[in-house]
């Protein structure tokens, strides 16, 4: 930097910050609801909570929809939100960024964690770090294929999804690992009382504090406050321009996948703890973890084309889905309950997307 000198000084008078929208408060609010996903999600959450609480008061539910239950349901939010954040990172990186392999990484890294902590007796924190690193390694493979070789992300991660999934199953001849140390791990996903104010509040699953909250804060800081965050948004918005601006495009994109892998590694630990066993199909059974994570990211307002997306959107989307699903289970008896969860998720996704899609056009005049 020796050859260049900054030419810019602080401006003499800071210009007053102009308001971004005109009009009275009411119409401004309406506009925010219609065009901003975060506001829409917040309102939907309130609607869901109020609806179920009213139903509860009217005795339409099979059990109280109370803060304790909502807090207990949060245990599902941990892996879902964390993987949603992993998807946020890769989708932000643009060029069709997506990671179908996160669930398979959860499976594989979980088995690796099972070996290290459950079989070989490594200290917990070393095993956690090693698992995260292993996840990062898997992510690095994705990143290498996408960023350095030029594979479309969907294809590269589809391929590694198949590969990791298969490896996770053969690594321990399709047996789960559930030795006593692993079984005892469940304690880290139990619910705890918050200190000081905890008496007034329901107990919250520990994983929220030990893993989810730190991840949320770190990802938020990285995106909003660091130079890496800037680079990521830049390459996601226009990677040709990013190259001309002298940004390390490949390196930045590579790291997005690597970080997503690392988060998946952490989720592997969460999942092993939550299920008290390292299961070879932990992240791919049923519809797997990747598709719900992408769904959460998309519902949270992440633009699939890259460059647009916020951590708060992902978190709110997770809360919405988790609390909605928890309520539905109390509102319907029998098999209908789980079936209506599908309906609700579908309706919320389509509705939120359409609303934003249509109104964005309305307000920006694009055709």
């Amino acid at each position: 930097m020796s050859t260049t000198t900054p030419t810019v000084s602080e401006p003499a008078t800071p210009s007053p910050r102009p308001s971004r929208t005109e009009g009275p408060l009411g119409s401004r609010l309406l506009r925010a609801v219609l065009t901003q996903r975060i506001v829409l999600l917040a309102i939907l959450i309130v609607v869901v909570l109020v609806t179920f609480m009213v139903m509860d008061a009217g005795d339409y539910l099979t059990a109280p929809y109370d803060p304790d239950y909502l807090a207990a349901a949060l245990i599902n939010a941990v892996p879902l939100a964390m993987l949603g954040l992993a998807e946020l990172l890769v989708i932000l990186s643009g060029r069709g960024g997506i990671d179908l392999s996160v669930g398979a990484i959860v499976s594989l890294a979980g088995m690796v964690f099972g070996f290290m902590y459950g079989e070989w007796g490594w200290p917990l924190w070393i095993a956690i770090i090693a698992t995260t690193a292993f996840g990062a390694l898997c992510g690095a493979l994705n990143g290498f294929l996408v960023s350095y070789i030029g594979f479309p992300a969907l294809i590269a991660t589809l391929a590694t999804f198949y590969a990791f999934k298969s490896l996770a199953i053969v690594i321990n001849s399709q047996r789960p690992i559930s030795t006593p140390p692993i079984q005892d791990l469940f304690s880290i996903s139990r619910s705890v009382e918050l200190p000081v104010i905890g008496r007034e509040l329901p107990n919250i699953p520990l994983g929220i504090f030990t893993l989810l909250l730190p991840t949320v804060i770190v990802v938020w800081l990285v995106l909003a406050r660091t130079t890496y965050g800037r680079r990521l948004f830049a390459i996601g918005t226009n990677d040709v321009a990013a190259r001309w601006a002298g940004l390390p495009v490949r390196d930045t994109r590579f790291k997005a996948y690597l970080y997503a892998g690392a988060i998946s590694g952490l989720v592997a630990v969460v999942t092993v703890a939550q299920f008290a066993s390292a299961r070879p199909d932990a992240g791919v059974s049923g519809s797997g973890m990747a598709l719900p994570a992408i769904t959460i990211a998309v519902l949270g307002g992440v633009a699939i084309t890259g460059g647009i997306g916020r951590v708060s959107g992902v978190v709110l989307a997770t809360l919405l889905i988790v609390w909605l699903n928890a309520g539905i289970l109390l509102a319907f008896v029998g098999n209908e309950g789980s079936q209506y969860q599908l309906l609700a998720l579908g309706v919320v996704l389509v509705f939120a997307a359409l609303l934003n899609g249509l109104t964005n056009r309305r307000f920006t005049g694009a055709r």
């Binding site: 099979t62 059990a63 109280p64 304790d68 239950y69 207990a72 349901a73 599902n76 199953i169 399709q174 047996r175 789960p176 559930s178 692993i182 079984q183 469940f186 139990r190 939550q274 299920f275 008290a276 066993s277 299961r279 070879p280 199909d281 932990a282 059974s285 049923g286 519809s287 699903n325 928890a326 289970l329 109390l330 008896v333 029998g334 098999n335 309950g337 789980s338 079936q339 969860q341 599908l342």
Partner: protein, 336 residues
């Protein structure tokens, strides 16, 4: 829980007296006079668990004082199952019975349920490390594994190569049956050999395809086992498609109605199962017993058809009875 203490005053083992005891409890609406027994299957919508549901409902009707709750996930997935278990804990049911997708992961949840004052039990699949008070077992792993092996080798003439098309790679009870089959085959049928074990997931078409591949890979293969309710018809279909009925024999754990066409044309020699509705009945009955703090006798008179159900106090297991071979002759006795 409060409700259980109230119910604890009840008397003998019979249904009539437990009804009397719950009638004696003080309570609000009519529903709270009944004990709530909840059952969470591995997966909803499959005939096996829906038949258990039918049996459970019959039991509830017969016992009179039981409210039978049944809710299953749409995917055979431990996480989805955990949500439902949690919602039943929230509902403060009296007994919670689970057929866990993943026994290890169910253990801590059952602990939570117990801490909330709920009686816990397992049925169909056990969670041996958990705090469950009883496991309602359909048949012993030994019984199923040996039943399958005997039925297949009976058809194969006591010798030859066979392969197994299993389902979920991680399904604990399927894997335990396979272990029994391996050991029992080696011991009892020295001229027989298991050449391959493949996993088709819950996908019938995949099971069919894999069975076909196996027959191609091993032209001298004479037997196939479909280890679960989706691969049992799958392997039979493969034999039918290959036109090798009578050359390659199949057995499996198929539900009666789904196996009927294959039993009829001989592409399946037998289906090893048990009376699933009775299993549901027994499950509901056991749940009611627990809810009322009744203990199990060494042999229990549950209903007309289940008049001598054995209880093993050491393993805390109720055993429905021996495995049942379903064949072309008796298949029509089952409606599911």
């Amino acid at each position: 829980s409060k409700k259980n203490e109230d119910a604890a005053g009840g008397g003998a083992t019979s249904a009539a007296s437990s009804a009397a005891s719950s009638a004696a409890t003080s309570g609000g609406g009519s529903s709270s006079e009944k004990v709530k027994v909840a059952f969470v299957p591995k997966l909803q919508g499959v005939p096996y668990f829906e038949a258990m549901n039918t049996g459970g409902q019959e039991a509830a009707a017969a016992l009179g004082n039981v409210e039978w709750l049944y809710q299953g996930p749409t995917q055979a997935d431990a996480a989805a199952q955990a949500d439902i278990v949690r919602s039943f804990i929230q509902q403060q049911v009296d007994t919670l019975i689970v057929a866990p997708n993943d026994p290890d992961s169910m253990a801590p949840l059952l602990q939570q349920a117990k801490d909330a004052g709920i009686h816990v039990a397992t049925s169909d699949t056990d969670a041996p490390t958990s705090v469950r008070e009883v496991f309602v077992n359909q048949a012993s792993a030994q019984g199923i594994g040996e039943g399958l092996t005997d039925a297949l080798l009976d058809a194969m003439g006591g010798s030859g190569k066979y392969a197994i098309v299993s389902c979920g790679q991680t399904a604990e009870n399927l894997n335990s049956w396979i272990e029994v089959q391996k050991a029992y085959t080696a011991e009892q049928y020295p001229d027989a050999e298991i050449v391959d074990i493949v996993y088709a997931g819950e996908d019938q078409a995949r099971a069919t395809q894999q069975a076909t591949d196996l027959m191609n890979a091993h032209p001298d293969l004479t037997g196939l086992v479909g280890e679960c309710t989706s691969s049992a018809p799958g392997v039979a279909q493969a034999v039918r498609d290959a036109g090798r009925i009578g050359q390659v024999f199949t057995v499996g754990l198929g539900t009666p109605q789904s196996m009927k066409p294959y039993l009829a044309d001989g592409s399946s020699s037998a289906s090893i199962l048990w009376d699933v509705e009775n299993l549901g009945y027994l499950t509901a009955w056991a749940g009611a017993q627990l809810a009322q703090d009744q203990s199990f006798e060494a042999t229990n008179d549950v209903s007309d058809t289940l008049d001598a159900v054995e209880y093993d106090d050491a393993t805390k297991t109720l055993l429905l009875g021996p495995a049942l071979a379903i064949t072309a002759e008796n298949v029509d006795q089952f409606s599911y």
